[in-house]
Symmetry: C2
Subunit: 348 residues, 2 copies
């Protein structure tokens, strides 16, 4: 009965009338069963066309109880705001199951990057990987899927690529920001966005468009400013927005990250505007600096601790053949943190 | 000839008339020499009373080519500003020598923390450790020294404890800040400091005192404000300083970290002062937020990339018995980054 839908271990177990742990252990050579039980399971596997998601671990003589993680280095203009919390969360989750994290350097040369993943896996230094900063056509995803090397990812890639994944609902995050601005009475709301090649950016931008359309508003084309996501771009783009004629000039700016929002703050203040009352500005990521700038910046916080915990739990399920769901992306909701940059009376 | 001073491998080599690599390889069982050469080296070892710094690695059947690193988790109020750069630097240095970094969780329970170090070493998951956030009487240092477990540290501990170590000259950093303020014409310079139990804090504060004394100035006792190093303390302490009578009121504030400086900025601006011209404020650490606050904050930058590279090079020397210097702390100079918070005409 092979079909395009993946048959799960649970279905095999139900068909054979045993627990899924029993099926998993049998297929991994971790248990010997009564001949008739084994025959029943083998038959169910054949009849349903079950295919393990990853190569049976018993082919490898031993596991390292080590998980591999590498990430794109930050730059002074674009610091990594979540690394510490994400690592600490993953470390604690891994260690609770007697696993450790092996960190390895990111290589901008893709071939070298992929070789590193392969070598670490083939030399059994790690049992599987956690990926982050996932983009469209991510070469790591394609490479690991093709070789059936176990991994989980923080972030989605192309919709047609299926793999175990956790992501934050950036679309929902922007909807929250725009709805908050609408409730404060704003109608001319601009957005500082990334280039169209950015998967994360498109996802967040979609939330802006949805919220505007739901409110019956059609954004002026000039209100969507796209650039490299740095402070300097936020500053330039905001200057352009503030130079629009009064009837087209936005009264609120939602930036897809905090860095662009910091630039927007600077440009608005240089124009003599009082941020919070004359103009509202919001960011995304709730970076540490968001609470130190003046006025403190409204932003969207991602549940990083939860993400780290779930990534490890998911990867351990994959490694233990207990990951029975079709590999879909688990979406987590972000949280809106309202501060004085959009709400002068905010306490923070 | 045993004495309190450690005899180095170099001295043994000189005495025996061979290279120190030869001595190292012989003592590690990595080479067979002519019997007379070996005898000459053994004799020099005995005569000088040479004792290897760490137990001969050949006692362990294999090495893991893995280095262990754990760090204190940050909090939202006190983010870890250097983790990404330090990790990337250590990863790249380690991988250049075919080593990897195993990260493990910090445990606030000291006994559990030390057990983790011991287990990772005894089960041969790691060959040695890198420590950071080192304090006085650091239990990790005492524990690892006692067991002769290889490690290097970013930061000094008690002066009498000798171990391979790299640190940033925080005293020099504060001297640079205070001298810059003196050159700008300030004489009443206050300092926002940590409690007296902080080794890093005392080191930085010493630089303030040295620079003031060199300029023939005796700081008013109220100019030294001590607290927990957070934004809130910086704000309160600055409010107290600004309430002093004019002749005792400081015209410049040097904070031992950027967070306290952010609080000082806020308090000064709430008093209607124009930071940079009415009052000068400087921080330390050059955190990402330093360039986003208004006005951008003068701060002291640590050479983090260089520190990561040198920590790994030092640890590999220890592991390869090529670490021949007496275990002293290598002090690296920080860099003063002047911005508008102390110098209104600064370009950044």
């Amino acid at each position: 009965m092979p079909s395009s839908r993946r048959v799960t271990l649970k279905e095999v177990a139900r068909q054979a009338g045993v627990s899924y742990q029993t099926v998993s252990k049998l297929l991994n050579g971790q248990v010997r069963l009564l001949p008739e039980t084994e025959a029943r399971i083998r038959e169910a596997v054949d009849r349903l066309g079950y295919r393990p998601l990853y190569p049976a671990r018993s082919l490898r003589s031993r596991t390292s109880r080590t998980l591999g993680y590498s990430w794109t280095p930050a730059t002074p203009d674009s610091p990594n705001q979540i690394l510490d919390l994400l690592l600490q969360s993953m470390l604690s989750a891994a260690e609770a199951s007697d696993y450790h994290l092996l960190c390895f350097a990111h290589h901008f040369d893709v071939r070298r990057e992929l070789e590193t993943y392969l070598t670490l896996y083939e030399t059994r230094r790690v049992d599987g990987f956690i990926l982050s900063s996932v983009e469209y056509d991510d070469p790591r995803i394609l490479f690991l899927l093709e070789r059936e090397i176990p991994f989980v990812a923080f972030g989605r890639s192309n919709p047609e690529l299926q793999f175990p994944c956790i992501d934050v609902d950036g679309c929902e995050g922007l909807r929250m920001v725009v709805n908050h601005l609408l409730e404060s009475g704003h109608r001319r709301i601009a957005v500082l966005a990334w280039p169209e090649t950015s998967r994360v950016g498109n996802n967040r931008l979609e939330g802006y468009l949805q919220a505007m359309h739901s409110a019956g508003l059609e954004p002026d084309s000039l209100w969507i400013q796209r650039g490299e996501g740095q402070v300097a771009f936020g500053e330039e783009a905001t200057r352009r927005l503030l130079n629009l004629p009064p009837e087209r000039r936005p009264t609120a700016i939602a930036a897809l990250n905090d860095l662009m929002a910091f630039g927007a703050l600077r440009a608005a203040q240089q124009s003599g505007l009082h941020v919070g009352s004359d103009i509202a500005i919001a960011g995304f990521d709730d970076t540490p600096a968001a609470r130190y700038v003046h006025p403190p910046l409204t932003s969207v916080r991602q549940p990083i601790w939860q993400i780290g915990q779930q990534l490890i739990a998911m990867l351990l399920e994959v490694l233990n053949h207990a990951y029975t769901s079709p590999p879909e992306c688990v979406l987590l909701a972000p949280e809106l943190i309202v501060r004085a940059s959009t709400s002068p009376e905010a306490s923070e």
